[in-house]
């Protein structure tokens, strides 16, 4: 997970989508961009998680997927597992807390997008 500077511009060639945009309907446009930024207008508005899953899982988008807007440290485990690999944290957020938030769970019950792991393997004791 890369932490992007809030004050710096997004990487060149980033397509910024609103969370009401139809990701599948804009597949061709997305394919022309190396990075897609998905917006969280409020951190409790979870539409961009589904957008990211569609980007990674359905469109097999190989480039960056960046979370922007109101992004809190405690969202990081969810963001990572939905396929985000870059975040711009809200200005008041602690980088330490964000990094700590990524460390609590070593594995999960669900398959993350792009993983070829069955639920069987996921559920087994490890």
């Amino acid at each position: 997970m890369e932490f992007l500077d809030l004050d710096a511009a997004l990487p060149e060639g980033t397509l910024v989508l609103d969370n009401t945009d139809d990701v599948l309907g804009r597949a061709e446009e997305i394919a022309r961009h190396a990075a897609v930024a998905l917006r969280f207008p409020k951190w409790t508005d979870g539409r961009a998680y589904s957008q990211a899953v569609l980007l990674r899982g359905r469109l097999r988008h190989p480039g960056r997927v960046i979370a922007t807007g109101e992004v809190l440290a405690d969202m990081l485990p969810l963001l990572r597992r939905c396929g985000f690999d870059g975040v711009q944290l809200r200005a008041d957020q602690s980088l330490q807390a964000a990094q700590r938030a990524l460390g609590y769970f070593d594995s999960h019950y669900q398959t993350a997008p792009g993983e070829r792991r069955s639920i069987h393997e996921i559920g087994l004791p490890r």
């Binding site: 409790t44 405690d74 485990p77 969810l78 594995s107 999960h108 993350a112 792991r117 069987h120 559920g123």
Partner: protein, 571 residues
């Protein structure tokens, strides 16, 4: 019941550690209220009228005696305060209609310690609140009911695991409730859920689910729409993923009262179903999509304790030995048929005078745990009717159980009768409530304290909610009572002929209002008038719900109007 794997165990401990981190940042002023709220909610922590409320999940209602003893310890050591009225000192839990247990008096500063204690016994508060997929609920008789088609518990467990910290669906437009039934009789009120799942066999004998979407109570009661008659069990998580993804992307977020999936289903109709099916097809076409493998179902099935061997039947003639009338009454109401020969399921009634419906003190938790250890292989069930149930009672021990249950105050022979009512905690404890539920429940219990009369009235569902959020399921009560707020005082709207979708109640439907709201002190009279109307009008053998449906609301309305006092002018 399901036995946790090491992974399951590590997972709830990790969740407790994560919550401790969040709580400490909050208490240190680093995590403001607005940001902490959704995080604590998804761990079951509300802030209520007096103190935080903790809602602990009892997934699909299965509870062990060991877990119940730990809950008793939490009630005793953490859920208390030193000031206030006797009823405000804590030390008890409340079983809700969604197979959860709620504590009302635990200080937030001790919240992380409690989560650690819960994790010790494989329990948690994960997703018992918040706009996410909530505790999966099911039939309290799952795995033991004679009318069962498919045991729903392994599927419930797979759903529990899949929905637990699902990263995509943690911040939906609104809460999301899934209920599963595997029997001919729907004892899980599936039609009232965001997703209702019914296990059955197709023509070739394969197991799958009938899926209904968009049921819910609240301000606009809606019965779920059937969207697929048979989803093979291997594909059920994929189908649910499709439903929840469409909802997450398209559900309304501008108005909290229109944010449940029921509004989306109503507004979009067939377009919603088409969108779900498109997403389902796309997922199935993707080679990366994981179906549930046979081996995984078997692995989960094997984590459930095997059923005990058949028990000896009572010796012939033993039953004829002049049974006490009180015992017979209890056996008629509180003892249920079982799929295993020699076994019975027994309800421990949590509906008794002097205590709110569903409430259990720490001592009573210990008492129920002891009964489960002695009579039911250490297992209990929590039902949506807010009672406990012992699933593995040997028929030869019924008499001994009855005596012990009476001793513990669990043997009120009222299951399915008027005083076996459902009620939310209401305005005494809940910050959302418009009116109190507990005094209404107490007044009705007091009014109908004659067991002969209760048995004569027969089967009836009385449901009380303190506000339109409908935690007390008033919409589905044969008699429903809803607390409403007018000019800052408590009023109660009364409905008749609602149904939860069981065979007794008929197809799920919301009850009909019988006139303007009543004052609190009129409510017991209104219930009495409604019951008197039924008793006067019933045909031989006709139950309340059937009579209410045949008669319509009008005669009940007239009878209720006749007992108005303070609201007489308004009516």
């Amino acid at each position: 019941m399901y036995r946790y794997t090491d992974f399951d165990r590590r997972f709830v401990h990790a969740r407790a550690a994560q919550f401790r981190d969040q709580l400490q940042r909050h208490l240190a002023g680093e995590l403001p209220d607005d940001d902490f709220r959704p995080l604590r909610l998804q761990n079951g922590w509300y802030v209520q009228r007096h103190a935080p409320m903790l809602r602990v999940a009892v997934p699909y209602g299965e509870l062990s005696a060991r877990q119940l003893r730990q809950l008793a310890r939490i009630a005793r050591e953490f859920d208390h305060q030193d000031a206030g009225l006797a009823t405000e000192r804590g030390g008890f839990g409340h079983f809700s209609t969604r197979q959860n247990l709620q504590f009302n008096w635990i200080p937030l500063a001790r919240a992380a310690d409690v989560m650690g204690l819960l994790a010790e016994v494989d329990m948690h508060g994960i997703q018992t609140s918040g706009n996410c997929i909530r505790n999966i609920t099911s039939d309290a008789l799952a795995g033991i009911a004679p009318d069962e088609v498919v045991d729903p518990r392994p599927y419930c467990e797979i759903l529990r695991q899949w929905s637990t910290l699902h990263p995509e669906f943690a911040f939906l437009p609104r809460k999301f409730k899934i209920a599963v039934s595997g029997a001919r009789e729907d004892r899980a009120a599936t039609a009232w859920h965001d997703i209702g799942l019914t296990l059955h066999h197709n023509a070739t004998g394969e197991v799958g689910f009938a899926v209904a979407v968009g049921g819910g109570m609240g301000r606009t009661p809606v019965i779920a729409t059937p969207v697929n008659g048979f989803v093979p069990w291997q594909q059920i998580l994929v189908f649910i993923e499709a439903i929840v993804r469409v909802y997450n992307l398209h559900g309304r977020r501008d108005n909290v009262y229109k944010a449940r999936i029921k509004t989306l289903v109503k507004a979009e109709g067939q377009r919603f179903v088409d969108a779900v099916n498109r997403e389902f097809e796309a997922l199935l076409a993707d080679p990366d999509t994981a179906l549930i493998p046979q081996a995984e179902l078997e692995r989960v099935q094997q984590r459930f304790q095997p059923p005990p061997p058949p028990a000896p039947l009572p010796a012939a003639g033993a039953a004829a030995a002049t049974p006490l009338p009180a015992y017979t009454r209890w056996a008629d109401r509180n003892v249920h048929a079982h799929r295993l020969p020699g076994y019975r399921a027994v309800t421990l009634s949590l509906k008794r005078a002097g205590l709110p419906p569903g409430d259990v003190t720490a001592d009573q938790m210990e008492g129920a745990a002891a009964l489960a250890e002695r009579f039911s292989l250490g297992e209990l069930r929590v039902g949506h009717d807010q009672n406990l149930l012992l699933p593995w009672v040997r028929e030869v021990e019924l008499r001994a159980l009855w005596l012990a249950a009476r001793e513990g105050g669990f043997a009120t022979p009222n299951i399915g009768l008027l005083t076996d009512m459902i009620a939310c905690p209401g305005g005494d404890l809940c910050a959302l409530a418009n009116a109190r539920s507990i005094p209404i429940a107490a007044a009705i219990t007091e009014r109908f304290d004659d067991l002969d009369e209760l048995h004569d009235i027969g089967d009836i569902d009385l449901h009380i909610s303190g506000c339109i959020n409908s935690c007390g399921h008033h919409h589905s009560g044969h008699i429903g009572i809803l607390g409403v707020d007018k000019d800052g005082s408590e009023w109660y709207q009364v409905t008749v002929a609602g149904a939860d979708g069981s065979t007794l109640s008929g197809a799920a439907v919301a009850g009909k209002v019988i006139g303007p709201s009543f004052a609190a002190d009129e409510v017991p009279d209104v219930v009495e008038a409604v019951i008197a109307t039924y008793l006067g009008e019933r045909r031989p053998g006709e139950r309340f719900i059937d009579a209410a449906r045949r008669l319509g609301p009008l005669p009940f309305r007239h009878a209720a109007n006749a007992v108005r006092r303070s609201t007489a002018l308004a009516a």
